[in-house]
């Protein structure tokens, strides 16, 4: 400020210079601290990545390093060829995630539109119960779910598990409702005047403008159900029906019984972990802005 006054004194300029310098220094300190955080965040992933390309002699060195000297795909070959369950589990996870994503999108969209745009007795109460239910702890829920799914003959099957999860609609309904409310009302009104019924308005007018909300819902569901452990582990008995997020824990057991000379338990396990992590990680890195959007439009608006 002093520099802008009628007579720029040298003292003022010096002050300005040091303050700029200070700010720069501050930024660099910030960056150094955050690089530390980055290292902690990435180290486990990078370490698994490097271990998965290592062979026995490098893995069991006295001082292992992150850099691989003789990279090899042997671990991946082993895990994909000798453990046929792994591709199977990948398929299971895909089926589970796909069913849940589609089911939730359909149900949540249909329900969110009236909640956003129509008026009927009990609308607000209904929406409030939807939202509040997420904050009630599921105390004996796992046991009750076991009983329920067993009764419905949905237990120990991937589609059954998917049906169970499709019922957990709070976040999708919330996000879709927000999305619908943000649309310009006039377009829907115009469609109505042209004779469209409610379902047509939703499918032809509102949905094409709501892709953002749908992408946010789909991505969050995918990531959650790819990694969900406890419920899937409890409800499914046959290891061949495990989704990868559960089955990955079995790699250790298999790893100790392998026969290949070139691989080590360690490397094969790492390769397995990486295969399990890779899909979600790649999707996240490619579409990261949608995840942040999901946070700011979902849970924070509750």
């Amino acid at each position: 400020m002093t520099a802008l006054s009628d007579r720029p004194s040298s003292a003022g300029l010096a002050w300005l210079r040091t303050s700029v310098l200070k700010r720069r220094l501050g930024q660099w300190l910030l960056i150094i601290a955050l690089v530390g955080v980055t290292v902690i965040c990435l180290l486990p992933i990078v370490w698994v990545l490097s271990s998965s390309f290592k062979l026995r002699q490098e893995l069991y060195q006295a001082t292992p390093s992150l850099i691989v000297r003789n990279p090899s795909l042997e671990n991946y070959r082993f895990i994909l060829n000798e453990l046929p369950e792994i591709p199977e589990m990948f398929k299971n996870a895909m089926v589970l995630c796909g069913m849940v994503m589609v089911g939730k999108l359909v149900l949540a969209t249909l329900a969110a539109y009236p909640l956003a745009r129509m008026d009927f007795p009990g609308r607000d109460a209904l929406f409030l119960t939807f939202v509040l239910s997420i904050f009630i702890p599921r105390a004996g829920g796992l046991m009750a779910t076991y009983e329920l799914l067993d009764f419905l003959h949905l237990r120990n099957s991937i589609p059954g598990l998917a049906f169970f999860w499709i019922g957990h609609l709070t976040t999708p309904i919330f996000i879709m409702r927000q999305t619908f409310r943000a649309l310009p009302r006039e377009v829907e009104d115009a469609a109505r005047i042209d004779g469209a019924n409610t379902l047509q308005v939703i499918l032809r007018v509102a949905l094409p403008m709501s892709t953002t909300g749908m992408v946010v819902v789909a991505l969050n569901e995918f990531v959650f159900h790819w990694g969900e452990y406890l419920t899937a582990y409890t409800m499914i008995d046959d290891t061949s029906k495990y989704p990868i997020g559960v089955g990955i824990a079995l790699v250790r057991g298999w790893g100790t019984t392998f026969t290949s000379q070139m691989t080590a338990t360690y490397g094969a396990e790492s390769a397995g972990y990486l295969l399990c992590i890779a899909p979600v990680l790649i999707i996240f890195i490619l579409l990261q802005k949608w995840f942040i959007r999901g946070l700011s439009e979902g849970i924070l608006k509750f």
């Binding site: 370490w47 239910s133 702890p137 329920l148 709070t170 939703i202 824990a249 972990y273 995840f291």
Partner: protein, 337 residues
């Protein structure tokens, strides 16, 4: 933009006759759909709306609400899944026997202490660490760099929990794990820390969970910080409130709703199950047998699958976290007023 979307059929003719197109359109639309703009009198029963909500409502009631309610009634039953005569909806009620038994159950008591220890380690860290990291990221002036750190910090959150815990178990491995190597090279001599030994196992699980959990909370805080009005800081600066002071007196108080949200979302921490299950399966000994893991074993692993007793344990845990949430809400509300 409204008039661009007018139905083209009637527009011209209305214009000729000198009608107010806008008003006409609105009236028609209003008749077709009484909307959120405000209710005129009582809302009409709108069957279409009910039909659209019905499938979601049914699925939600069946798979979300029913198990919640059923879990509570199960807690008052001597429900053993493998004994058909006890495993039914209406029989085998035993009043509060399950809760009485909990008081005599040594393993339950021990697991409760483990869970409390875990909560005491994890809960403060999962709140304090993210708010600091978020504040650091928010201070960056280079937008690109900030978005890079946002991505990196959130990355562990998308990693499947099983994979995350297994990777950390490898890192903790005393012989070939990388953690001891790093610490050894930092200290300059070889170290042999037994990360998963009986002393450290619980904190090791907490560290691994922290690694996975803190990115999510960091982003929540970051969104909160980005939402704070910059003018508040300018106003503060005039009064000599800058740097750390402005963080303490402006940023933190304004993040209170997010603190509350994070605490409530983590209120179930007493029931922590998967982490201990995957990484140590409760061991060594019972050093990491949390209450969540104990109740899971009672219900699904031990002998006759005593789901009734497990549900009672779960209900008690649930009550604790519900009370915690209630207190948090109460405290946050009174302080905001």
């Amino acid at each position: 933009m409204g008039s661009y979307y007018l139905p083209s059929v009637s527009q011209n003719r209305c214009w000729e006759k000198g009608w107010n197109v806008e008003a006409l359109r609105r009236a028609k639309a209003e008749r077709a759909l009484v909307g959120q703009r405000g209710r005129v009198g009582r809302a009409r029963i709108n069957w279409v709306a009910y039909m659209l909500v019905a499938p979601a409502l049914l699925a939600w009631m069946l798979f979300n609400i029913y198990p919640m309610v059923r879990g509570v009634t199960m807690a008052f039953q001597d429900y053993r899944f493998l004994y058909p005569e006890t495993a039914n909806l209406f029989g085998s009620f035993n009043a509060i026997d399950n809760f009485v038994e909990m008081f005599h159950d040594r393993m339950f008591g021990a697991s409760l202490i483990v869970s409390l220890k875990y909560t005491a380690m994890y809960l403060p860290a999962i709140v304090i660490l993210p708010v600091i990291v978020a504040s650091l990221i928010a201070q960056l002036t280079m937008g690109r760099l900030a978005s890079f750190f946002r991505v990196v910090v959130y990355m562990p959150a998308v990693v499947p929990i099983a994979a995350a815990m297994l990777v950390w178990r490898k890192l903790y491995d005393p012989n070939f794990g990388y953690l001891n190597v790093i610490i050894g090279s930092l200290l300059g001599h070889k170290v042999d820390i037994l990360w998963l030994g009986s002393k450290l196992a619980l904190s090791s699980i907490a560290i691994a969970s922290l690694w996975k959990g803190f990115g999510y909370n960091t982003l929540l805080f970051l969104i909160g910080i980005y939402g704070i009005n910059r003018e508040l800081y300018d106003a503060g600066a005039v009064d000599g409130c800058t740097g750390l002071k402005s963080w303490w007196y402006i940023t933190l108080p304004l993040l209170k709703p997010i603190f509350a949200l994070i605490l409530v979302l983590n209120a179930g921490i007493m029931g922590v199950t998967e982490q201990a299950m995957i990484m140590t399966s409760g061991g060594p000994g019972d050093a990491t047998l949390t209450t969540g893991l104990y109740l899971w074993r009672v219900a699904f692993q031990f002998g006759d699958m005593r789901m009734g007793y497990a549900a009672a344990v779960g209900l008690s845990l649930g009550l604790v976290s519900a009370i915690l949430s209630g207190i948090i809400f109460r405290v946050m509300r009174t302080e905001r007023a």
